[in-house]
Amino acid sequence: MNFREQLGRQILFFDGGMGTLLQERGLLAGEVPETWNILHPEIIRQIHKEYLLAGSNIISANTFGVNAFKCKNLEYTVNELVTAGVRLVREAMGEVHSSQPMYAALDIGSIGKLLKPLGEVSFDEAYKVFQEIVIAGNQAEADLILIETVSDSYEIKAAVLAAKENSNLPVVVTMIFDENGKLLTGGDVASVTAMLEGLGVDAIGFNCGLGPEQMKKLLPQLTACCSLPIVMNPNAGLPVVVNGQTTFEVEPEEFAQSMRTLVEMGASVVGGCCGTTPAHIKRVVELCKNIEIAPVTDKKLTVVSSYNHAVYFTKKPLIIGERINPTGKSKFKQALRDHDMEYLYKEGLVQEEKGAHILDVNVGLPEIDEPQLMEETVTGIQAIIDLPLQIDTSNTEAMERGLRYYNGKPMLNSVNGKKESMESVFPIAKKYGAVLVCLCLDEGGIPETVEGRLQVAEKIVKTAAQYGIPKKNLVMDALVLTISTGKDNANITLEALRRIRYEMGLHTVLGVSNISFGLPERSRINTAFFTMAMNNGLSAGIVNPSSEPMMSAYYSFNALIGEDNQCSAYIANASQTIDKPSVSSTKSSVYTLDEAIIKGLAESASEETIKLLEQNMDALSIINEKLIPALDVVGKGFEEKKMFLPQLLMSAEAAKASFEAIKATLSKQGKDSESKGKIVIATVKGDIHDIGKNIVKTLLENYGFEMIDLGKDVDPEQILKTVQEQQVKLVGLSALMTTTVVNMEATIKLLREHDVNCKVMVGGAVLTQEYADMIGADFYSKDAMGSVRYANALYERGEL
């Protein structure tokens, strides 16, 4: 039997700690342990042998810390250290004469960097770092890959993809959770388990961070949701600081007793981490080797996850927010064309606030690069929104990109019963473990009968199985056709829905509002139909969470079927809806537009602008006679230290609301609002703090400048390229630290070298006028208003 066959069928033992043993044998502070694979191979081999003699079946090669980032400062390559590390395990295995199964694990740890967009390393860069390790370990004939002591689900995904795309080896993932069952980056046990099962790893578990007693408390969370063999490699207790020295104090006997409980609770692969020794493992083997382990069972859960939580399909229906979709929305389409990502993010945040559980993401427009935009949207949204996403596209490349860069177990919308669709979508869905929305239509179109739709559903289930996609990962859409074109359309859908849910045992989804196309007062029909569909087994409705009638129907339904304890969600929703002042009462604002802006009241500013427009005041006059003078009052107050940053920003936001009202009117009249000129703004390479830059951007926008925001950690080359391509005359650069001001200087130097005719203004916490002069900036802005004054001066001189 090989490793995969034994896994989960018989108990297997990992080895224990390495670091402490190496320190005892003379490893110095600051010395990289993996260099000993080459400098002191005999010591490493000896430790492996001690673990084998203690009864370990799986020996982790001394490769945990090897990666391209750490090897930069070493005289050995990743390949050399990994090859030597795996070879030492194989040699140790050769020297131990035993009938026990023995396997060499390529041990992969965290790269120690946070991934973009929050951190500085891209997903692809992380993937490449892992790929190099995997290729070396595979060539060195490792028997399996152990990804361990990892705590960022996105990094874990990069590592697993690298392992599976560059080898056929079994993959075991053990993660470091805190006592509350959270990863350092916020994930929980259920969310990463969903993701890892989807990606097709072979075993999942915990290591490091906790001792066996703490793992006992967390293990039930894992056994509840995990359909794979479970690994437990705890530390020898929690770290205890004695005289400032970190130690682990749980002795072998006590450790082994706890480990026996973990095995009885469902772990089938056990070993140790920090502080554990061959003595610990020996005792664990003695106590556990004869325990008959429980067979691994499929929990049959239909689940999707975001980076930080899992969402299960159950009896209680889910809300899938439908608003990130350009269909029939001219403003959304324009935002896509303008690459206005903030507009998309706002749509997402609002839906999250309104109670959506999953967000549908559709960015398809004929004239845009959909795969690229899908990748960007998915990575952007998941950086700020906690909800799982449903990648919605018919473009298979956009599908693949969306799923690959998704941080969790995604939902995919959709496949249908056409041969071509199934052949192209199933492999992608399988690879990334997506929960797949299946449309009950095929080459023959949408079947007109219930039977017809069920037949397509069955065909899809059968074909998916051939690709290794289980029923639990399929969610069936019985399809909604409007009742304005066929009186039985709702009946057919509801009956198909009911039978799919209760006879075929599949979860279901519907685009609910399609039912009312062509009818007036659509929300009345939609709401009634939504309730009927939920009552016929709808697991998830794709709806607009901002629609009060729909959400009222949803909360009422849950309360009625007994899925809302003490009606608390219903009450919370109802009181929210009632508390809200009615729209008409706020219409009569007591402030004029300039007062509203000075006081920072966005709603009043917007209303007053609309009033002025209705009174036929033209847009330009509103801007020049009301808006800008009001902003100037605040700006001046700020400069004179009579008003402060929060007030400045509130006024800016009020002005923005006013601008938006003006823009909406202009675009109705087919006009564009005028720009005073383009300004490129960026936080320089190496710097990840961008609030200062964003404040400046907000203010400049309000003064009518077109802002090209390149974000944070921006390469000098990218700034140069944008300035050249868009013929920009002013660049704003921000840097926070002395270590990143050098990149500000480099950017300015690059712009000057290419003789670009543009001014550069700079700002940031550590900058001073002297420093700005030294690095060749044209203007040093000591605060946000400074940049406005400078840009305005350039504009007035005709230099923008």
Binding site: E120, L349, T739
Partner: protein, 232 residues
């Protein structure tokens, strides 16, 4: 909000938040104060503060600080640090963070509500300071149990005075900040999550040397956020 976050909330110095927002020693008007309380509350509901520290024996010379613990030796070349730690036999190396959640909240506000973004930035800075203050008091209590009454010197971090940021690498390696509490260090030596602190804290039996306002020690005397700055 859990109890430990509530404690941070209780210890947060609102005046620090005002100062970070550019108010100097002034007090914001009621509407802004309310907004600050609202944002601070939202922040305290999401953060997951974590810390790690080690205690070292220290020997201080004129411009060098040597930390030693069971054979491990860390050397810092810095006159300012040596001055700060003068007469300290014990030095704590501390790293603490509010966690990635603070940055996520900041990013959300940057899209939805720029004013709140600026405020959460200021609140985060004040919270991590409050958290460090709580921690160092706990550490002090623990170490004072052994007998001698000890006093804390102000926290000193890489980047202060003549202590180069490059020492961050050594501190991160020693404390295993990334693995233990999830702070990562960029190539440009910035910490992420951004609301994080790494510092050396001296402990001394000499009571008169304690608690000097670290802000007023900084060389950047024109800084807009300098404590006590009202207006020029």
């Amino acid at each position: 909000m859990d109890d430990s976050n509530r404690e941070i909330g209780n210890k947060v110095n609102l005046r620090e938040i005002y100062r970070y927002l550019g108010y100097g020693a002034r007090i914001p008007d009621d509407s802004i104060q309310n907004l600050i309380i609202e944002v601070l509350d939202a922040l305290l509901c999401v953060i997951k503060p974590r810390n790690i520290y080690k205690v070292f024996h220290s020997s201080i010379s004129e411009s060098q600080v040597v930390l030693e613990k069971s054979g491990r030796i860390l050397v810092f070349e810095s006159k300012n640090l040596a001055d700060n730690l003068a007469q300290c036999n014990t030095v704590v190396l501390l790293a603490a963070t509010l966690g990635i959640e603070a940055d996520k909240l900041l990013q959300r506000y940057e899209i939805l509500h720029m004013t709140k973004a600026a405020i959460v930035q200021a609140c985060g800075a004040a919270c991590i300071e409050a958290y460090c203050n709580i921690l160092q008091e706990q550490i002090l209590d623990e170490l004072s149990k052994k007998g001698t009454k000890l006093f804390l010197r102000p926290r000193f971090s890489p980047g202060y005075g003549d202590l180069p940021l490059q020492y961050q690498r050594m501190i991160f390696q020693e404390l295993e900040c990334t693995k233990r509490i999830g702070i990562t260090l960029t190539d440009s030596l910035l910490m992420y999550p951004t609301k994080s602190v790494s510092a050396l804290i001296g402990l001394t039996a000499n009571p008169q040397s304690c608690h000097i306002d670290k802000c007023s020690q900084c060389d950047n005397i024109t800084c807009a956020f300098r404590s006590g700055t009202v207006e020029k």
